[in-house]
Symmetry: C2
Subunit: 152 residues, 2 copies
């Protein structure tokens, strides 16, 4: 499952996580490799599934979603299809994790307003009990791994 990555691979991953649009030429410059060697490394990382994709990061508040919330969902039974279907329908649901503990799922939800959030939580309530926390701020926006684990 785990790939063996050397220091150069990690440098590449860190640079591409910071700027996913870096030209391979410039990336090679930063990790002290030629363009072709860099291309080959990146291709292998993609092939191995270490890099799963590249994506632009969009500021939610700038595109009309003023409210971000974390909703925990207590989901009785094990018929999960209806929820999975809703994930595809409601684009306001940005993320869904199945977790251990009393609450089976935590979801991240974006809404234009509190009434909007209320309507989404109402939809989710049909599946089970919900606990909603609105996000004040993000002291740390999502970042990827910055190096190999130092403990294992």
């Amino acid at each position: 499952m785990t790939e063996s990555l050397d220091a150069t691979d990690w440098s590449i991953l860190i640079e591409l996580q910071r700027d996913g649009r870096l030209a391979l030429t410039e990336l090679g410059r930063r990790v002290s490799l030629s363009a072709s060697a860099t291309t080959e490394r990146v291709r292998r990382l993609e092939e191995a599934g270490v890099i799963t994709g590249y994506r632009a990061d969009v500021d939610l508040s700038k595109v009309g979603f003023a409210v971000l919330a974390v909703v925990r969902l207590k989901y009785p039974g094990n018929r999960h299809e209806p929820l999975h279907h809703l994930l595809g329908e409601r684009a306001e649901i940005l993320e869904c994790l199945r977790i251990t503990g009393d609450d089976c799922y935590t979801l991240k939800v974006a809404a234009a307003s509190m009434p909007h959030l209320e309507s989404i939580v109402n939809e989710l309530s049909q599946f089970g009990g919900t606990t909603t926390n609105v996000v004040y701020s993000q002291p740390l926006r999502f970042r990827g791994p910055q190096g190999p684990p130092r403990m294992g």
Copy 2:
């Protein structure tokens, strides 16, 4: 705060969120615009802060982090600097949201193993009570907004 985006802007955002490395000329093809017009649109979206950056997506399990967990932290008082300092130190903390409710923060933590996770949770416990849920699976990995809010 909110920018006014037309349908073409949204097409661009959706394409770049799906593949952040799309060439501008190919992107233009998909949204029916010339390369230079596309470049200008993208530049404006970046300038306005709608697109905050581009990043490669890395598979955590492939680089040695077998365990992902959500940790909620009950943080008494309002001296937040020590926690913010830890966010910079511990690269295993991938995300941190300040939220309403009993628990002041939710954090996403990556670890190589359960003992590793335990040591990080121990570090966090110095700040206040913690509630940890391990992630089984991600029915929906993070995605960005797919269009303007339909309610608001």
